[in-house]
């Protein structure tokens, strides 16, 4: 295996006080071949603005992930008091004050569409910031690298440890690292399952061995994926497995922000001797700190690359060096292709966030968000689903009258049982009655009671006189009215007559 040489050999300085990393980018374009084993990457710890942002984002996201299942929300007796819960037994999704039925899965679809559009917008504006800061793969890999750093030390120590023979010390370090990794992995899988069960109950049952079997299965699956994806696969997930890096190429343009090495300022690069002039040479002292820091194993000085996740750790690494050698920061910076071109043309760089592309994404995102909000706010306490019988499509009675049958499903979303009246409107001369209902009930009066939080289904027979069957299809409306509140819900449907056009 081609293990990278440790930094100290050969011990050269890139500049006064800056050690040169003898490192080659694992995934640089000119070393890339098909068919080769993964070369491990040993990212060097950096300090700086973007590292701090990454810590903050990671902390916030992990906190949300682990704390949310334990939030409580009182919904009254007989209902779960977990604020966010996918209740598979009752087929309900609870989100604080919202309770969604499986019939309303379009809200989830809308949420996914809005999420995709938000990703489009952010990618068009800031490049792959999702990948670099918020993606679970990045967050957990970062966490695993932090554990690695804590137990085995920084880059050079880790490389040395890999090369060392298997001493007791090495075994101890490796065992503790993998133990902590596995604990994190179990906690990751465990927390996921908590969104599907009552969290405090499940935590207790999990350890006493009383939790549902499927709970253990899913904790096991997610433990495995977390451990292997964040511990071993890491950057390969982004480079080989994830489709998003390919798709987002369609969302960025020359004004999108991406991590950029300012070639014009940096080149020609080379080690710098203390006291010598900076004239006629670039600011890059070729110390390779940006390469050593990169978790994706690339050299950002080669330009934009497929692997780059826009995380900015190379910016922090370079800024640290620039401070030491007393040159201005920002040799590597979040910048755009447009600005590189503008500088070359002698114009001042600028960021333009209001572009046709970004405005289009924003408008569509706004529209989807508004539509969902309106749909959510206007949810009726009764929902109605009318399914017309298709087999047979219509029935001709002995006297020539035409009858259609409809299955009317009434959903009661309130907490109290309700009495509702089902009507069919828009068909002159129609006689409406309940199939299989009391034979002595007068036609047209279909009264049913629907229990709280339940669906009641009733089959309704609608008969129209032969003379009224003028069109193959007649529009009609099924209404359901809550007798107590008078609130009614309607559903447009059609009456099939079998008449020729």
């Amino acid at each position: 295996m081609n293990v990278q040489a440790p930094d100290r050999a050969p011990a050269t300085h890139a500049a006064e006080g800056v050690l040169r990393s003898d490192v080659q980018a694992v995934n640089s374009a000119n070393r890339r071949t098909l068919y080769k084993a993964r070369e491990p990457i040993y990212p060097k710890a950096v300090h700086g603005t973007f590292r701090k942002v990454k810590w903050a984002v990671m902390t916030a996201l992990l906190a949300i992930y682990y704390i949310v299942p334990f939030l409580r929300w009182d919904r009254g007796i007989g209902k779960p008091d977990q604020a966010v819960l996918v209740d598979l037994d009752r087929t309900r999704f609870y989100f604080f004050w919202i309770e969604l039925w499986p019939q309303e899965v379009y809200f989830i679809a809308g949420l996914l569409i809005a999420g995709a559009l938000a990703l489009f917008l952010f990618t068009a504006l800031f490049g792959r910031v999702w990948c670099g800061y918020a993606c679970p793969q990045t967050v957990w890999t970062d966490l695993y690298i932090a554990v690695e750093h804590w137990i085995e030390g920084d880059r050079n120590q880790r490389i040395r440890l890999t090369k060392e023979p298997w001493t007791a010390k090495k075994v101890a370090k490796r065992v503790s690292k993998h133990t902590v990794w596995l604990l994190i992995a179990v906690a990751t899988g465990g927390a996921w399952v908590l969104y599907f069960y009552d969290a405090p109950t499940f935590v207790v049952e999990f350890f006493t061995g009383e939790a549902p079997f499927m709970g253990y299965v899913f904790v096991g699956i997610l433990t495995f994926t977390t451990y292997s994806l964040a511990g071993f696969m890491r950057e390969q997930v982004c480079t080989y497995m994830c489709p998003w890096p390919r798709i987002q190429a369609a969302m960025v343009d020359s004004e999108s922000i991406s991590v950029t090495y300012l070639k014009a300022r940096g080149e020609p690069r080379g080690p710098h001797k203390k006291g010598s002039s900076w004239d006629g040479r670039g600011d890059c002292i070729d110390c390779n700190q940006c390469v050593a820091a990169c978790p994706m194993g690339i050299d950002i000085r080669d330009g934009d690359q497929l692997e780059c996740i826009n995380c900015g750790l190379c910016i922090d690494a370079c800024d640290e060096v620039m401070d030491k050698i007393d040159r201005p920061r920002g040799l590597i910076a979040y910048d755009s292709h447009e600005n590189v071109a503008r500088r070359r043309a002698g114009k001042a760089p600028r960021f333009r966030f209001l572009r046709t592309r970004t405005m289009f994404y924003a408008v569509v995102l706004g529209a989807v968000g508004t539509a969902m909000l309106i749909a959510l706010l206007s949810r009726a306490p009764i929902d109605l689903n009318v399914i017309r019988d298709r087999n047979p499509v219509f029935v001709r009675l002995s006297n020539g009258d035409i009858r259609n049958a409809y299955t009317v499903k009434v959903m009661n979303r309130t907490d109290a049982a309700m009495q509702v009246k089902v009507d069919v409107l828009g068909l002159p001369g129609a006689v409406v009655r309940e199939a299989g209902g009391p034979a002595d009930a007068p036609a047209g009066d279909i009264l049913i009671s629907v229990n709280a939080d339940e669906i009641r289904s009733v089959r309704v027979l609608v008969t129209i006189p032969q003379a009224a069957a003028t069109d193959p299809s007649l529009p009609c409306t099924v209404t359901v009215t809550d007798l107590k509140t008078g609130v009614s819900t309607l559903n447009e449907t059609a009456f099939m007559t079998g008449a020729e056009k």
Partner: protein, 289 residues
Amino acid sequence: MSKNREKDDVSGVETTGHEWDGIRELDNPLPRWWLYIFYATVVWSIGYWVVMPAWPLVNDYTRGVLGHSQRLDVDAAIASLKEGRSALGEKLAKATPQEIEADPELQQAALAWGRSAFGDNCATCHGGGGGGNVGYPNLNDDIWLWGGTLDDIRHTLKVGIRSTHPETRLSAMPAYGRDELLEPGQIRDLAEYVLNLSGKSTDAEAVARAAPLFVDNCAACHGEDGKGLREFGSPNLTDADWLYGGDKDTIIETITNARNGVMPTWEGRLDAPTINALAVYVHSLGGGE
């Protein structure tokens, strides 16, 4: 072949040494993940041979240490289904269809049970929704040759129509043409007469000629007014519904050869709760009396 192996200049990879119409192939290694999965499946298959039924022998097969058998699984599943249904089945068997219909819980259960039994046994002829077919009555409408009450439907289910059951519902319309009971001209006149019963005739003379023929040959079963009689299962000739078709040619065909459709008996084939459930289900389709 392998003596033809050579190094490709562009990729630096050896070729396989084969050549087809001037096309050579690079001998790239298999992707590792693929190879590992392949090895894993090989190992898996060996374990599978041990624990699962695998190799055919002359009169038998290797059964595997788990003793797995899909036939036994199906038997067990059916047994457990029967057991799970037994309480409900007992209730459905004991109750009259009227009692079932009056009890909302039992009615829902009967409808579900009946719907599935209908799909398995009845839908072949009557259609998935009981919509019928030419020669097979629509069970959704208000036309019942042998009666549409719960008891009538249950009885029809039990004994069938012109079936092998000793108490089957039975009637037979003569084949007036085939058996030369009537002349072809008389049959044509009778067809006009039948059309006239629902006001569709265009030949008043033929109708007049056929009036005595109808009284002599048809009225005994179909009634003087042609409205049919339930005790014979004879259809109403005056309504809008035609089991085999209401145009003149079809009516002539019916009179000439007769129809005498058959429904099998279900007693003995279906158990008591299923027949009760089917009666309630068919009754609920919309035409129940």
